[in-house]
Amino acid sequence: MYNAITRSQLFVLDQDEALDFYVNKLGLEVSADLDLGFMRWLTVCVPGDPAREILLEKPGPPALDDVTAAQVRELVSKGAMGGWLCITTDDAQATFETLKNRGVDITDEPSPKPYGIDFGIRDPFGNAIRIGQMF
């Protein structure tokens, strides 16, 4: 019936800042960055893997009314919007060192779990990202 989940979405509070974080700090690549007039369609993907894109959407009118957009921004900033990514890597420790040197917000350092070695970070807005070297 289905083949794959190809796109999902995260709310970000500033798309220029999001682009800088997701590409220059986290190391993803821009898959699309288009001015559609009514919105900026900004997606990122793991380098070389455009089959799975994350839309970095800025909450605001006309898609959301001002009051709702403000509520979304507040929820994102307290980590309650539910935006979450889980990314795999071949070397969690090396990736951690790279991100730490780039000044990324670390929520927990690499440690062994039953499922692999992983660590957590947040984007500048409050969304949670886990990066794991899975067994």
Partner: protein, 140 residues
């Protein structure tokens, strides 16, 4: 106005993340307020407004959640676990644990309710967020 709520939320989240990460360390209000880069008075008030419970309760219950996890998944002694999760006194740990969980650490280890399904595949941040005994709905 809205900008400052968002900025403040993000600061509080950074301090909450520090509690989730560094619960084993002697975290005090001065340290946490400095992580959030706000005054201690502002920190207590704002943390509660943001997350619905005081930073003290949040940290206390993070430590108890970790203790429950270690009691369940290891055979380490209660004293070891008490120190591991950031308590410095076994008496305080046992009293706090019993008050929150409803049974002592050693009773919990033997009798406490087990998860309905294995959790070993679940990313640890979800376990920590969902298995923490919160102080919501409690009398303050």
């Amino acid at each position: 106005m809205a900008r400052s709520v968002i900025d403040d939320n993000r600061r509080m989240l950074r301090a909450r993340d520090a509690m989730d990460r560094d619960f084993a360390l002697p975290l005090d209000l001065a340290k946490l307020a400095s992580v959030a880069a706000v005054s201690e008075a502002h920190f207590i008030r704002s943390f509660k407004a943001t997350f619905g419970e005081t930073p003290h309760r949040y940290l206390q219950r993070r430590r108890i959640e970790r203790a429950m996890y270690l009691l369940r998944t290891t055979d380490r002694s209660v004293t070891d676990i008490c120190m591991e999760v950031g308590f410095s006194s076994l008496g305080t740990f046992s009293r706090t644990f019993t008050a929150i969980v409803g049974e002592s650490p050693s009773q919990f280890r033997v009798h406490g309710p087990a998860p309905h399904a294995p959790t070993s595949f679940v990313p640890s941040c979800f376990v920590k967020a969902w298995a923490r005994p919160s102080s919501f709905r409690e009398a303050s």
